[in-house]
Subunit: 121 residues, 2 copies
DNA sequence: TTTATATTTAACTCACAAGTTAATTAACTT
DNA sequence: AAGTTAATTAACTTGTGAGTTAAATATAAA
């Protein structure tokens, strides 16, 4: 099932779904595990739908274990996004450097280096 | 005008808008420049709306020059996405490495290294 | 001042995403 | 077999995103 970027970005455009992904960085979780933080805000079928969106977007995979459906992150979707982002990396990293240059001219205090995700000094 | 991730990802979930961003990597462009490739598929007001979405998402900025509105990429939106992606980088890069390991076990041919965007060997 | 070019706003339609409740399927437990 | 827990499906409502056409605004050129 090959997701396209439209689906993947659309899946990411929802904070509930992003929170679910964040939870999954700490390891596999069942649907009800993932649902727990949201059951005061929305119903279980809503959760099921969110997970279906994430799965079709290639961001998670769901397996079966007795009556549970363990979910885990799927690298495919993330890779697609990362690959797409790569064509813009030069642009926004350059803009970090412009900021650095700027700060050097207006600031006497030293500003911490390596703040920008440790990349490119 | 501070965009949130919901808006930014939603803006990216449309191939017309992504094509506009791609065009802008080659430099500033007016609304009608950006519209040109799409005018057989959609009207000019539709283009205007797409650009408004991109602007509110913090992905482009629009300025004024006579009757034109030159647009250019805005690093802010890209940084936000990149920052968010960073918390998953370890995960999907690790999965590249797992793939490397796997390929070593099933393949006798050498497979090219540094293919994965040159990162992490 | 009129006309042409560039872009936006207004008002509307249509499709679809996100939520709901009620009913259903699936596997385990007693 | 009956009951419990986990998750999904069905059917529906509602809000919003993406497109439309027609009209309005803004600047430049004649």
């Amino acid at each position: 099932m090959h997701a396209n970027l439209d689906q993947t970005f659309a899946a990411l455009a929802d904070s509930t779904r992003r929170a679910m992904l964040a939870r999954l960085t700490r390891g596999e979780a069942s649907v009800s595990d993932l649902a727990k933080p949201f059951l005061n805000e929305m119903s279980l079928p809503a959760i099921t739908k969110h997970l279906q969106v994430l799965e079709k977007a290639g961001l998670i995979t769901k397996t079966r274990e007795a009556q549970w459906r363990p979910c885990k992150l799927n690298a495919d979707g993330f890779k697609d996004v990362a690959k797409w982002m790569d064509q813009y990396r030069a642009f926004w990293e350059e803009s970090f450097e412009r900021l650095d240059e700027y700060l050097k001219t207006v600031t006497s205090k030293k500003h911490t280096k390596g703040k920008h995700h440790g990349r490119k000094s």
